[in-house]
């Protein structure tokens, strides 16, 4: 008798448990299906955006090239001693060439990331100086929108012009170029602030603009490739929508993180957190140094 009672209770609880398990499985399946649907739409969109991207190449690359060619020809024709004219045209060439260089760097970076050929080349980088250099490169866009970029070195160092951090200088520069270029694009007449600080050995760089802001929906897609928030026909902003996807991929490579804080109409802050290269204890983390692995007796051979 005793055994039967136990069996009944046991059966009931077992039944309940199984029902719960089944319910859970169904829930999981439903959310998986939903996820699949989302992925499917995304992939379709991605294909469309890719064709859009190729069509865009014309505006983004051929046209600036045409200007560079035309302007340099005009310089050749300038009469002697007309330095002002030459200077003016050289400046225009610089602006077009800088823009081309920036676009091409993003395109090649994206291509290399997608090909799996990206490796960090770590050296001691003066990050403050890199940021100031990037700001200088965008001087023309800044002047055009009457914007200034203020760089704050909040690392507590006496020398505000220097802060050395071990990172990949080229990749860091492209990250900053994209964030600053973005801030310029979406600013509405005020300054842009870049703050550099150090938080428990992590480099933290925050780029703050007082621009139009990013909606919650757009926050989700902003790092996807070929995504441009501002795609209207009257869009004055250039770009392929590759910049932020490159930023994200580089930050992943550094094992870092990027955060967006935004209020519609008030502005946006992108915060980049890059850990010190060797501080990563994560096993999937990496360090090129110290990975001369000793394969001794303990190893297996396949």
């Amino acid at each position: 008798m005793n055994r039967e009672q136990i069996t009944d209770e046991f059966l009931l609880s077992e039944l309940r448990k199984r029902f719960q398990e089944k319910e859970q499985a169904i829930n999981e399946l439903e959310s998986m299906t939903q996820e699949l649907k989302n992925v499917n739409t995304k992939l379709k969109e991605s294909e469309q955006l890719k064709s859009h991207f190729i069509a865009n190449i014309n505006n983004e690359i051929i046209n600036p090239f045409a200007s560079v060619l035309g302007l340099s020809r005009s310089i050749l024709d300038v009469k002697a001693n007309d330095w002002e004219k030459v200077k003016y045209m050289a400046k225009l060439i610089f602006v077009e060439a800088h823009n081309l260089d920036f676009q091409l760097k993003n395109i090649f970076a994206a291509a290399e990331i997608e090909a799996g050929r990206v490796y960090p080349q770590i050296s001691n980088v003066n990050v403050v100086q890199v940021i100031k250099g990037v700001v200088e490169d965008f001087e023309n866009d800044l002047n055009a929108k009457r914007l200034t970029v203020e760089v704050f070195n909040e690392t507590g160092l006496a020398d505000k012009g220097t802060f050395y951090f071990k990172t990949d200088s080229e990749k860091f520069k492209l990250i900053m170029s994209n964030l600053i270029s973005n801030a310029i694009k979406f600013s509405k007449g005020s300054n842009i602030e870049v703050r550099v600080s150090l938080e428990t050995k992590d480099l933290v760089v925050a780029v703050k603009d007082y621009g139009i802001g990013i909606s919650e929906n757009n926050k989700k897609i902003i790092f996807d490739r070929f995504t441009r928030i501002d795609t209207g026909i009257n869009s004055v902003n250039r770009g392929h929508g590759l910049g932020l996807s490159v930023v994200k991929a580089f930050i992943d490579l550094f094992n870092g993180d990027i955060k967006i804080e935004s209020l519609m109409g008030k502005g946006t802050t992108f915060t980049v957190i890059i850990p010190e290269p060797d501080s990563t204890q994560n096993i999937d983390g990496y360090s090129a140094e110290g990975n001369e692995i000793f394969f001794d007796d303990d190893m297996e051979v396949f």
């Binding site: 996820e35 989302n38 992925v39 995304k42 992939l43 969109e45 991605s46 994206a110 990331i113 997608e114 090909a115 799996g116 050929r117 990206v118 490796y119 960090p120 790092f223 996807d224 490739r225 996807s245 490159v246 994200k248 991929a249 992943d252 490579l253 994560n282 096993i283 999937d284 990496y286 090129a288 990975n291 692995i293 394969f295 303990d298 190893m299 297996e300 051979v301 396949f302």
Partner: protein, 164 residues
């Protein structure tokens, strides 16, 4: 083996390598999975190191994702002149090491699953594997011979599903 003058490379997560030049590739795997593909006839090979099973349309379509990493690795070997019927695979990694960055806990198992499923679909034989368990792995892959030397990293004793 002439290991002294061979080209050496440390493969980063989300990277991919395939070349005609014989290379020793080292990588460290936790929940990530590496698929080594090599062609014993031409003596060339390649390796990837992916972190997540499937590209979900987010970010760039990089070999950070298994589906893309395997497809790209295979197409690179084919470009280098390998015939698909000669290509063989070895897979490593996918341990359940704690990784707080990934919200899903069975990421290792899903990485293994995608590697096995895709290779089966592609009709590429998996001739060796050391996957799962609770430990990380360091592997050294010789791209010409396809040999893989592996060492567990971490504290516990290995309890993995291993077949050669």
């Amino acid at each position: 083996m002439n290991t002294q003058i061979m080209k050496k490379l440390f493969l980063y997560p989300a990277a991919l390598y395939a070349d005609k030049e014989p290379t020793q590739v080292v990588t460290i795997l936790g929940s990530c999975v590496s698929v080594c593909l090599w062609d014993p006839v031409k003596q060339i090979g390649g390796i990837n190191h992916f972190m997540l099973p499937l590209w979900n349309g987010q970010g760039l379509a990089s070999p950070r994702y298994g589906d893309i990493a395997i497809e790209k690795l295979l197409s690179q070997l084919l470009e280098l002149g390998s015939l698909k019927r000669n290509i063989k695979a070895k897979i490593f990694g996918g341990g359940e090491v704690l990784d707080f960055k990934n919200a899903t806990f069975n990421i290792g198992a899903r990485n293994i699953e995608i590697a096995q499923t895709m290779l089966n679909d592609l009709n590429i034989p998996i001739v060796a594997r050391s996957v799962g368990g609770k430990l990380g792995r360091k592997i050294l892959f010789f791209s010409d011979t396809g040999e893989v030397r592996m060492k567990f990293v971490g504290k516990e004793k290995p309890e993995q599903d291993s077949t050669t």
